[in-house]
Structure formats: C-alpha cells, structure tokens
Subunit: 547 residues, 2 copies
C-alpha cells in the first residue's frame, strides 16, 4: 500500500492561504477530521519498507485546511496523531515506522535530557558512547536476551560495497557490547562501581508503530552499571527508578506508579525489572521507563570478572535503565485535551506566549513596544517567553494556535491595557473565562512573581488532575470476574496476585490486559487471597491494557 | 588477522599491581612502547568485519605495565594512540574501525557541544532529529552525491527477520532525507529561512581508520538550512564557518585557517565548500569543520520549491555544515606533548586537580581538610576541580598521571603549605620548575582570581604556541619546485594558484599533498603568477599532506 502522510502544519497553516485564519477556531471541537487512512499507516502490520510518495500538490492540501483536530473525546488515536501533526511535534519518515522529530517536539526531549542528564551526573554516572554496530554473535551470548530481541533486529550485511563476513546488528539496546567492554576495563574491586550512561539512537524492527510510542528508531538514554555485590546493584536499580519517578511527578506532572514487573514482563536478560507505569488519557497504561537488575546474567555470558579484596575472581553484578522519546508521547497523552497539546510548564519550551492586539496603525507601535518590554522582563527573569508579533494572523487565530500548541500561559495586551499599564493573563489548563484574569500590572515587581506563581500552579494542577483521573480509574478487585469487569470498563484492575506465568498469560489472552507491575506502594495488612488462584498473596498487582 | 587491542588504562594502572606506582614517572620519555601491531590494526585495509578476541589475561597485561607513552617526538602516530589509550579517551569497538568514546574523551565532546549548541541557537537554528535509515533510492537522486558516498555506505538489508524490498542506507550524512522532508514543509517564502540542526551518529565505511579522526561511525552535528535567495544561503554558509573558526580559536586554542575548498575537494553535492584547516603537531593538515553552500543541487533533485512574493515557484537555496568527534582528535594532536594530553582550559572537564601530600597519619587530616576546603572554594567559583585524595597512589604518581591526562593546573598542598596558609601551583603547559609557583595564598579572595587568571593565561598560551608553530611551518612558494620542496620538508606550501583540476591531482599524485583551501586571508596586491601554470592567479592556495 502507499503510505499516506499527514499534511504538515506548515502546509495546513500556510500563510499563502487567505482562508487559513478561519482555522482552529474555538468552535471547531466537533469538526471531525477523517484520518482513518493515516491511522492505518501507523497500524500497518506489513514489514515491507515503503517510501512515501512525493508531497501532495497544493490543491490537495487546501482541502484539509478547513479541518481542525479530531476531538480527544471522540477518537483518542486520531486526536493523538492530529496533535502530533498540527502542533508540529513530529512527522513521518520516508521509511515505514520511522519518525522525524520536529523542533517543537525535540524541545520537549531536550528538556527531559537537561533534567535527567544532571541527575545522572549527580548520582555518579559519566556519559560515554558505544558503537551502534554489534557483532551478531554478541546478541546470541545471553540466552533470554537473544530470544527477546532477535525478532526485532535490523541487520547490516553490506559495508563499503562488500558483503560482510559477519552480519552486524544495529543496536536494539547495548548490554552486550557494554559487557564486552566492561570485561576489558574491570579487573579489581577498585574499578567498581563502574557507572555510565549514553544518549543514543536505538533500532527495533517493530511491526505496529505509533509516533513517539513505538517507532523503528527512537532516541533514549541507557545507563549501565557494574557493582561488586548484589546489594549494590539492587540499590542502584532502585535509585534509578526513583530518579525516573521523581522526574515524572515533578517535571512531567505524570503520576506514574513505580513497581516491579512480573517474571513474564521482565526484560530479556534481567533478574528483576522495575518500571514506572503511567495512565494515558484513554486509560491505557504506558510503560514510561524501566530499571533492570541484571544480576550476573551478562557478566557470566561475557565473563566480566573482578578480583575481590581477597583476590578471588567474581562476576560483577549489573544494572541497566532507560527512558526514551516514548516519554514525549506519554506527556501528550496524559495532559492533552480536545483543544490539543497541554505542556507542563517545566518541560515547555515556550512557557508564556504574548499576543499583542491592535486595530489601528497608531495603536500598533505602543502595543508592540509594551509587548516587547514585557518579553524582555520575563526573559530576564528566566521565563521561556515568545512574542507572536506576526501581522499575518488575527489575535483570535493566535489564541487558538498557541492553545493547540499547549503553551501554559498567554498574555494578551491591547491599547486599553497599555493605557492602564496592565495585561490579561489566560491559563491553558482552565479553558475560557474562568482561566482568564484581567488587569495584572505590567510592573516587573508584580508581573514576574505573578507569572512564576501561575506556572507553578499550572504545574501542580496538571499533576493533581492526572492523579485524580488515575485514581478514579483504578479498581480494587478480588476475583477474576471483577478483574475482567474492570478491564471491560477500560479501567486498571488492582488485586492480590500469586498466579503462575500461565495464569498471567491467560489473563492477557482473555482480557487483553497485562500485568503492569506489583506496585511498590502496597496495601497494609497481611496476605490476601489471590484473585486467580485463591492462594495467599503477599502483594497486589495491577492489570491493564497498554501501549 | 586477529585484531589486537591496546590494554585499557584501567588494566595498565590496575591498583592490584604493586609495581604500578612506578609507572608514568617523569623519566619515561625515552621509554619506547612497541605498538606496531596496534598501529597496524588502525591502518588495517581489510574491509572484513572482525571481532576482537576476548581480553588478554592479567599475565599478559602485566608485561605492559612497565611501559609508558611513546614520546611524540619519536613516533607521532604511536604517541597519538598511546595518549588515547592511557588518558582513557577512547577504546576499540569490537567491529573493525569502530570506537568506544570513554567518559574522559566524551567530556571533551560534551564541552564542544555545550558551546556550539548555544551558538547555533543564538544564530537562529533549532534542533531536531531525522531517522538514520534512508531509502537507497534517495542517495541516487543527486548525481555527484551518490558518486561521492556510494563506496562508503553501510546497508541494512534485513529487518525483523525478513529481507527488505528496498535496502536502507545507514546515514553517511542527511542532505537527502532532509530535502525529502523540507519539500513537505516548505511552501511559501514565509516558511523561509528554515534553519535546523541535529546532533547525531553517522556511518561511513572507511577502509583506513584512526580513532577520532576517521572511524566507521562517528558523532557530529549537521546543520541544514533553506533560503529564498542565493545571497542568503551564501551568508549563512559563511556565518557558520565563522562560528566554527571562532570556536576553534577561542575555545579549542586551535589557529585554524578558514578558506574555500577547490572544486576537486568540494563536498559531493555542494556548489562551494568552506573549511577550517588545522595544523597538527606532525604538521599534517586536519579538515576540522566544513560549511557547504549547496546551491539548488538538492532542491532540484528533491523538488524543494517555494512560492515567492509574486507567487512564482522557485527552488530553495541551501546550506549544510558539520563538526564531528574528529575535532577531539584535532585537540589531542595540536596541543599534546611527550608527556601526553594537554587540554585547553575552556574544554577541559577537569581544569584544576588538587593533589594533597602527607607522610604521617597526623598530617593527613589537616592536609585533606585544607584540600577539601580549597576544592569547595574553586568549585563554588565555577572552576572544574578534582581532588585526588586516593591513598593508593603516591603524590609523584598522581602528578604524572594528571599531567598525562592534560589537566591545565595542578595544586599541591602539604603540611608546610597548610601551616603557611598557601599552596603550590603548577602549569601543565610549562613543564618543571618554570611552571611552578610557591606560596599562593589559600585565601579565596587571592586564590580564585589567581587560578582564573592562570587558566586564561594557559588558554592564550596554547593558542599562541600553536599559532607560532603553524606560522613557522607554512612556506610561501612561487613555483612547483618550491612547493615540492616544502612538502618534502613536511611543511605547508602556500602559493598563487589557478591550476586546473588535473594540475591539482598531479600535485597530489606526485607529492602526496592536497589543496587544503584558498584561505580567506589573502595577501595584498594584484594577481601573481600561478606557481604551476604561470597564468595570472588572483588567489593563493595552501597545499599540505593531510589526515
């Protein structure tokens, strides 16, 4: 099949179309966009590499220019794809399942990187870089690892015009090559712990792809550490899932549930996998980050040994942990609404947009002058601010545009505001009049603290809203019937569980839900009856449908 | 052949060897290390992918532990490889020609990124990310591009266990996929200029590799821009070569010569290529960064058009520009000396190392206490400082170790210094006593400005030394005989040139030197006689052997 692409926002909003200022009006929420063909591209189960056709002609594009974003409430998936396209977060690459991350989307990833990179260094890790080409034989060394990854590999078989003697794997993850190197660097207990991280691209030949959530190539960081004792490795794996949890709550305003994966869901090659599970706006679960205690699985496979204080050779104990561009998808699907994207202030590349309003030419200068001075004041205070002073667009168009782009705060300023030395401030998270405050003084001593306070309030409010949504969609269940009912309702089911791997797979087959995690936060009191086997269960588990 | 690897520094200096504290003594400069076999690995001309053997046993390693760094003056190439290994900058990947960039080397790249990333944003560019898999057919669209790159391609032919219908190129550079996307994003003159950058890995199947300088995979940034007029594109290409030039001088202390490439040396697909050419310590030239004016070559091949103000469709005018991890190699080869690495303070991840000195147990506490407080003072002042308080090593060993690692300033502090409330400060760039100053007060109000001033002095001094070395090794020539003589002496030859492509290739064939650039900085006065053709030449060109 021919791969259809969403038109890019640039084309949809092309300034050359006079009608485009009508676009994205507030009343467009019921304006349904037919995107089923696009949706199909992303659900395409064909492994064939397809190259997109040349761009549509302008004639074709103009027919889409009257359309807005599919309301989230109506079709979550179409809404998600619309937001990504219209807010210019990403576009489709020419090869099936690949994605171009556009500047506005990449800026979210950069904000994630800035925060995590600092935390990784604070917790003692150094950045470095491993080659992405891994000899095929490496992948085969750890038994469960090869089983987990071999169906998803991309292989380089030709280099410099010649068939290679040994085919090369384009890294799906780097445990094998990391261990190959660790074996050369680690000799004594004094070389431990060895704690590193890399920011890199990885490739997994996924059959069903979705922008940000699951793509053939994605960006991530992967931490890798080696320790002298199992206790240290466990402590490290826990430390890093805690870093991810704190990041999710405090920066992304996503109330993830941290916990332990079941055996079935554990990473291929790990003893234990910790995860943060996030509830998306459609109540599906998203695994948003993982931290693995690898035990000695890779150190035995690659013979990574150290001499302990008594001179005895031992295999090192290891961890690995990762967060990827998938997290950007999690942010979109957690906070977005019918109007479009909604960004948490701490990860927004534009926290405040200033929209100047004038009608007559003589008003323009004074309004723009005031807007510029407000921009400078906020910028100097460390606030990420943008002044939209284009005269190609009406203020109303700009309001809608920046709301759709998820900018937390809008400042409006017109001739009357200039006279009264004040501005109007609107919150993205509270639609319409309730979120709008008039007459905030332009005085820096008033305006700056006011804007900062509002940004903090919005940050907190997004977290609270997501938490409340999450809590109201988790059902405590005590039997398999109750579990099935909860899943049928699209909710998460939480109940006592000591079921076998087979029991777990049965749930998946019969309900479509998987065991997301045994949450760290467990109910008080002694063991309860397992919802499936009636046996005594020390822990509750969470089941949900997931991405 | 089996690929031999250099032992890593961790192993060479393994604390488990009691003898290792003898290592890296000042007197080791004539201690030659036999590294011919390793050197051969990097000069390996076989395209066969080879996997390194398992690490040598400890027994083998101990035989190398007595050895130091090959003096630069004796064997530049062996010295270079030794420095990379001993200073833990990089290691060999398991696949021939690939490189693992270790934390100390990666930190240099991070410092380069930090500076350039800011400058790119200040000059109006946004970061984004393009997929690394490019349909093979894309590469074929621009005629000279395919000619230039097809011999170096790595091809993915299998994905998810199946043979692909169209093989995929692992990006050697991204002009083709960038233009494929630009064509979809650009419609009107209002969409221009479009100015983006990406930080990414790229793959070129090189036959002769050398760490940092030429590897199968390397890291870089690639900027790509599209403009409405040829003048704007030219201005952008020049702006970016100027950013690189300023960076080289001010941050890396490398006195590059910016200029224009000849037709023969122009990038495959560009109208004009600008370059910064750096003279390494062995007087070979290193192309350290390039900026291309692509004209309309790619926009015609990919039909990247815009409607101008009169509604006429025109092809966009483009640029691309890049700096890579090769630059790290340039830093090593510009500033390093027989002792090892020498880092310019502005790119050093450790600018100051503090070495505490004590003999008796009762001295240890007060010395370490004073050292810690100095560390805090410098750290608070924004200086990158490390305290080497290990008691596994003697102070003498530490002196040599950190000199070899190229740290610009060493602070020594012993019991007598503590009594006198002062420290001893040594400069890496001035060996021995002349670089050592006693009795610098520990008072923050004295110490901090003193250290900052010294760092600035060292930064400037490295640039001056490199500039003077460069100037004394460029010979002005007026005939082909003079050119041949200069090249024979290992120098750069600069002379009037209007030779043809064939003349240029003849020089390469007969002398091994290539036309590095027509420098922007041209001698005053009218046209001179071309050194080769005797015709009137408006410009001088520089010829040199190069990496």
């Amino acid at each position: 099949m021919g791969a259809l692409r969403l038109p890019s926002l640039t084309s949809v909003f092309s300034a050359s179309s006079a009608r485009s200022s009508l676009l994205l009006r507030r009343s467009n929420h019921l304006h349904v966009r037919k995107l089923t063909s696009t949706t199909k591209v992303f659900a395409n189960s064909s492994p064939v590499t397809e190259v997109a056709p040349p761009p549509e002609s302008n004639q074709k594009q103009s027919s889409i220019q009257e359309q807005g974003i599919t309301p989230r409430s109506q079709d979550f998936n179409a809404w998600y794809l619309d937001v990504i396209s219209m807010a210019e977060l990403a576009d489709y690459g020419p090869v099936r399942g690949t994605m171009v991350i556009r500047p506005y989307g990449y800026a979210i990833w950069e904000a994630i990187q800035d925060y995590l990179n600092l935390k990784f260094k604070e917790t003692g890790h150094s950045n470095m870089y491993f080659p992405q080409f891994i000899p095929y034989s490496f992948i085969e060394k750890e038994a469960s690892h090869v089983e987990g990854f071999s169906p998803e590999l991309a292989l380089v078989t030709v280099g410099g015009g010649k068939e290679l003697e040994e085919k090369l794997v384009v890294r799906p993850t780097s445990e094998t090559i990391v261990n190959h190197m660790f074996t050369q660097w680690i000799h004594s207990y004094r070389d431990l712990p060895l704690m590193i991280n890399q920011w890199a691209n990885v490739t997994r030949w996924e059959m069903r792809t979705k922008p940000f959530i699951r793509t053939l190539e994605f960006l991530w960081q992967e931490g890798h550490t080696a320790h002298a004792t199992p206790e240290e490795a466990e402590k490290e794996a826990m430390q890093m899932i805690n870093v991810y949890t704190k990041f999710s709550y405090e920066e992304a305003a996503i109330p993830v549930i941290p916990g332990r994966k079941s055996r079935v869901e554990t990473f291929a090659g790990a003893d234990r996998t910790y995860t943060i599970e996030a509830m998306m706006g459609d109540r599906k679960a998203l695994q948003a980050g993982t931290s693995h205690n690898l035990g000695q699985n890779f150190s035995r496979a690659f013979n990574t040994q150290f001499a302990d204080e008594n001179g005895q050779r031992q295999h090192v104990w290891q961890t690995s942990w990762a967060i990827s561009t998938r997290f950007v998808g999690g942010i979109i699907m957690t906070h977005g609404d019918d109007t479009g994207l909604m960004l948490p202030p701490r990860l927004a590349s534009v926290q405040v947009v200033i929209v100047p309003i004038w009608k007559k030419a003589n008003e323009k200068n004074e309004v723009l002058g005031a807007a510029l001075s407000i921009k400078d004041v906020l910028h100097s205070a460390g606030i990420k601010v943008k002044l939209d002073d284009s005269d190609q667009r009406t203020p109303g168009w700009k309001f809608n545009f920046w709301e759709m782009k998820g900018v937390p705060i809008r400042i409006e300023i017109g001739p009357r505001d200039v006279s009264s030395n004040s501005v109007v401030i609107s919150r993205r998270d509270i639609p319409g009049k309730p979120g709008k405050v008039f007459g905030i003084s332009m005085e820096p001593s008033v305006l700056v603290p006011y804007v900062k306070e509002k940004l903090d309030e919005i940050q907190l409010s997004l977290l609270e809203k997501a938490t409340s949504f999450r809590n109201s969609n988790i059902v405590d269940v005590n039997s398999y019937d109750e579990l099935k009912e909860a899943i049928l309702q699209g909710k998460w089911a939480r109940g006592p569980w000591v079921g076998s791997d087979e029991d777990e797979l049965k749930v998946k087959e019969e309900t479509g839900a998987t065991l997301r995690c045994f949450p760290f936060d467990q109910p008080q009191g002694g063991p309860k009856k397992c919802l499936m086997t009636d046996g005594p269960a020390d822990e509750v588990a969470i089941f949900a449908k997931s991405y």
